[in-house]
């Protein structure tokens, strides 16, 4: 029953999120998703506290529900980031499938199809929109928020033994 309740709550959040996006797509999608999903969770917990006899869940049950719901919400937010913007890796796979009748494709053909510069420009624009970077005399600089996140990733790369700079 607890599993079913949690999955139902996630489904309700997903429906609300789709309705919100269809009516007016938010500029800061991650924050909007957090508000949408955790808003539903908070309302559900309030309901369970105000009307405990409806479901008869203990504090332990509610804690389990919060953990499961949070874990699934994180997964959805991660998946959503790939839904929102075309992943170059998936674009390559799609193009290779399309070219399979011609026996594949070479490097030049892939370069022409992918327009990787455009992908980088799109990400620069989206980071400006999200307040991570700002332009000053044609030069991009990290904002306070951007510096904070860049430092987290920089330190974590050292701590978790991730070599290279990514991309």
């Amino acid at each position: 029953m607890l599993l079913f309740t949690t999955m139902s709550l996630l489904f309700v959040s997903f429906i609300l999120h789709v309705l919100w996006w269809r009516i007016n797509m938010p500029h800061r999608s991650t924050i909007a998703l957090l508000i949408c999903f955790f808003g539903v969770l908070i309302l559900a917990i309030l309901y369970l506290c105000l009307f405990p006899s409806t479901f008869d869940y203990s504090l332990i049950d509610i804690s389990k529900m919060i953990l499961l719901y949070t874990s699934c919400t994180f997964v959805y937010i991660i998946v959503y980031s790939a839904v929102e913007d075309q992943s170059p890796t998936l674009a390559i796979a799609y193009y290779l499938k399309k070219q399979s009748h011609a026996g594949g494709c070479d490097d030049n053909s892939l370069n022409n199809f992918l327009k990787a510069d455009a992908a980088i420009r799109r990400r620069i624009f989206s980071m400006e929109k999200s307040g991570f970077i700002q332009k000053n005399h044609d030069h991009w600089f990290l904002t306070k928020k951007g510096k904070f996140f860049a430092s987290i990733f920089d330190y974590s790369a050292k701590i978790f033994g991730l070599r290279g700079i990514g991309g």
Partner: protein, 169 residues
Amino acid sequence: MQNPWLITLLPILTLSINVISQLFVVHLTRRIGLSITTGLITGFIVNVIVFFTVSTNFENTCIDLISYIGFSFSYWTFLNLNITALRIRVLRELLKENKTGLTTETILQRYSSKELINRRLDRLKQWGHIIKKDGQWILQSNKLLFLMFVMLLLRHIIFGKEKTRKLLA
């Protein structure tokens, strides 16, 4: 006597075991892929062992395992962002050049289209998704196409047909 809080907090405890194992293996072997897999499996095994020695409730097993898999996937994505994400790459490039900043052109020069494509082709080749035969790239696995299909389906549901077409353009 069962401790109900142990079962409740099991996904967090096993996630910690996952992270500790990953850190231990990566600093010991310098192999990222191996360390991530070891961490994931260790956490999973501990989850299953603890669960079967403490309780036998099927619903609790499902809740704990789904929660653990969800948290582990988030952790794996966090690690993966450092390796593959374009945005993180740009952020870290800008962190290196914090005082002078970078123009769009310099960013594009530092991370050229060619590099972007080559890195992805290398990774796809390493994972066995594609092969190069007589100078031609050929798709070997349908896993990526399945993922692409799921993404397209979600785009259609969330954004509708029109917006999806604009996004893909």
